[in-house]
Amino acid sequence: MAYPKNYRYTKEHEWINVESGLATIGITDYAQHELGDVVFVELPKPGAKIATGKSFGTVESVKAVSEIYAPADGEVIEANGDLHNTPEKLNTDPHGAAWLIKVRLASGADLSGLMDAATYEAYIADKGKEASA
C-alpha cells in the first residue's frame, strides 16, 4: 500500500495529515499489518486533549493490544465512529476511511520532527531487514 506523500509519519507508525489547521490522524499500513486482524478500537471523545507522544487511544487485534500515540498537540474534534462496529476496516483502508480522529492542532504545533513518506518507507524497510536477519 502506498504511503501518501502529503502525510507525515511517526516512529510508532501513526500518520497525520494537516489541511488548514485541521489534522486527521490514523495508523499506517505497516502498523495494521503488524497487528493483524483488528477487532477493537477505543478512541477519545470530542473535546479531549491530545499531547505529542502521549497515548490517546487503543487498537486491539486478536492477539495484541497497541497504544496509539499522538503525533502532535491538539483537541479532538471528531472520532471515527464507524470503527466502533467495523474495526476490521483498519486492515483494509488504514490511510483512508479508517482514520482514527480529527484534531484541531494547538497553536504552534510542531510537525517538523515527523518523517515524510520517503523517510518513513526507508524506516520500515530497515525494520523488515532487522526482522528477517
Binding site: 499489518h33 493483524g36 528477517s132
Partner: protein, 389 residues
C-alpha cells in the same frame, strides 16, 4: 511475556521448517525461546486460520514441542513405575497405542508441566511436553526417575511434529497413508507409513478442540519440508492453510485447554486448575499427591472459570478481576476475542464464591471496570459426528 531468561534474538531456536515459514511470509515471534510463526498473512491471518480449523482443515508446525521417551531397563515395569511416579494420571490404564492428558507435579501439587503420555509398548512411554519448559522438564524427569529401572531419552530434536487439525483432517491425512485412520479413536495412535516414511507415529491428538492428527517425522529439513508440502497438496481440495501459534492459542482457549504459564504453573495446583479428572489419587503414590490430599482437605481458595465479556472490551492475560465494589478478587490467565463465538472470552482465577454460572464479575481494562459473567466451559465443543469414530 518475555522474561529475563529468554535468549537473545540471535540465539532463538528454530524448527526444521523455519526457512519454509519465512518463505511463506509468516509473521515470526519469540515463543518461549523459539522463533515461531504466529500467523501467516498468506493464509489470510489469524481469524482465517482459526476458522479453517473449525470448518475444514489447517496444518501447524509444532516441532518445538519436546519429546521424552521412558522405557524399561532390565526389569519389566521399571518404566511404568517411573511414569506413575512422575505423572498424575494413571498410566497403567493405558493400552498400548493409547495416550492421555496428564501432568508432572512438584511436591507442592503444582505444575512442572502438562504432558501427553503415549504408551508405545508394555514398558515404553513417550511424553510430549511443552517447548518453553523442555530443559526444565527433561532435567526433572531424569532426576525423579533415578531410583527406577528405566532409560530416559530426549527425542525432541529427532522429530518434526505436524498437527493436521479440523473436521477434514482425517481425509487429508488418509490420502498420504495406507493405514486406516477412521479406526483410530480420539487420543489413540498407531505407527504407519506416511508419504512413504515407514513407522511414522500417527496420533489422533491436538490442541485445538477439533478432530485431527499429529504426526512425527524425521527432523531433517528436506524430509520435513517434503512432508509439509505433501500435506498441503493433499489438503488443497479442502482449502487447507498453514496456521500459526496465534490461531493455536484462540482454538485451545475456546476448548478450555490449559496453557503452561497461564492456567497452570508452579504456583497453581491441580484442584484450582480444575484438572481433577486427569489426576488419579487412587492409583497410589506420585509426586505431589500428599500435598494435593492436604489441599483438598483445606478447601479451594481460587478456581478457574470461563468469562464472557458483557461490556465492550477484551480481557487479556494478567488483567485484574474485581467485584462490584472494585476490590481485586482474581486474575485473567488467558483472554481473547473468540473467532468462533464472536464474543470476548477469558479464563480467570477467582474465589469459589464467584464461580457459579451467571455470576457477574468485573475485569479491569485500562482503568475501567468492565462487566463480564461466568459462563459454562468449554466455550466451544465440537459437534458430535455420527457414524464416524
Amino acid at each position: 511475556m518475555e522474561s529475563a531468561a529468554t535468549p537473545l534474538k540471535s540465539e532463538l531456536r528454530k524448527t526444521p521448517l523455519n526457512a519454509l515459514h519465512r518463505r511463506l511470509g509468516a509473521k515470526m515471534v519469540n515463543f518461549g525461546g523459539w522463533d515461531m510463526p504466529v500467523e501467516y498473512p498468506s493464509s489470510g491471518g489469524l481469524i482465517a486460520e482459526h476458522k479453517a480449523v473449525r470448518g475444514s482443515v489447517g496444518v501447524f508446525d509444532v516441532s518445538h514441542m519436546g519429546d521424552i521417551r521412558v522405557r524399561s531397563g532390565l526389569k519389566l515395569d521399571g518404566a511404568l513405575a517411573a511414569v506413575q511416579h512422575i505423572s498424575m494420571n494413571d498410566a497403567s490404564k493405558l493400552a498400548i497405542g493409547q495416550a492421555h492428558y496428564s501432568a508432572m507435579l512438584y511436591p507442592e501439587g503444582t505444575f512442572v508441566d502438562d504432558v501427553i503420555v503415549h504408551r508405545l509398548g508394555e514398558d515404553d512411554f513417550l511424553l510430549v511436553i511443552n517447548a518453553g519448559t523442555r530443559e526444565k522438564d527433561i532435567q526433572w524427569v531424569r532426576e525423579n526417575t533415578k531410583g527406577f529401572d528405566c532409560v530416559v531419552d530426549e527425542l525432541s530434536d529427532a522429530y518434526t511434529q505436524l498437527a493436521i487439525q479440523g473436521p477434514h483432517a482425517v481425509e487429508v491425512l488418509q490420502k498420504l497413508t495406507p493405514t486406516p485412520l477412521h479406526g483410530i479413536k480420539n487420543y489413540w495412535f498407531t505407527h504407519g507409513t506416511v508419504c512413504g516414511l515407514k513407522n511414522t507415529l500417527i496420533a489422533r491428538t491436538g490442541y485445538t478442540g477439533e478432530d485431527g492428527f499429529e504426526i512425527y517425522v524425521p527432523s531433517d529439513k528436506e524430509t520435513s519440508e517434503n512432508i509439509w508440502n505433501q500435506v498441503m497438496e493433499a489438503g488443497r481440495e479442502f482449502g487447507i492453510i498453514p496456521c500459526g501459534l496465534g490461531a493455536r492459542n484462540t482454538l485451545r482457549l475456546e476448548a478450555k485447554m490449559a496453557l503452561y504459564g497461564h492456567e497452570i504453573s508452579e504456583k497453581i495446583n491441580v484442584w484450582e486448575a480444575g484438572l481433577d479428572r486427569y489426576c488419579k489419587m487412587e492409583k497410589g503414590e506420585f509426586i505431589g499427591r500428599a500435598a494435593l490430599e492436604r489441599a483438598k482437605a483445606g478447601g479451594l481458595k481460587r478456581t478457574l472459570v470461563g468469562l464472557e465479556m458483557i461490556d465492550r472490551g477484551i480481557a487479556r492475560d494478567e488483567y485484574c478481576c474485581c467485584n462490584e465494589a472494585g476490590e481485586a478478587i482474581g486474575v485473567v490467565t488467558s483472554g481473547s476475542p473468540s473467532p468462533t463465538l464472536g464474543k470476548n472470552i477469558a479464563l480467570a482465577y477467582v474465589p469459589p464464591a464467584y464461580s457459579s454460572i451467571g455470576t457477574i464479575v468485573h475485569v479491569e481494562i485500562r482503568g475501567q471496570k468492565c462487566k463480564a459473567q461466568v459462563v459454562p466451559t468449554p466455550f466451544y465443543k465440537r459437534p458430535k459426528k455420527t457414524g464416524v469414530s
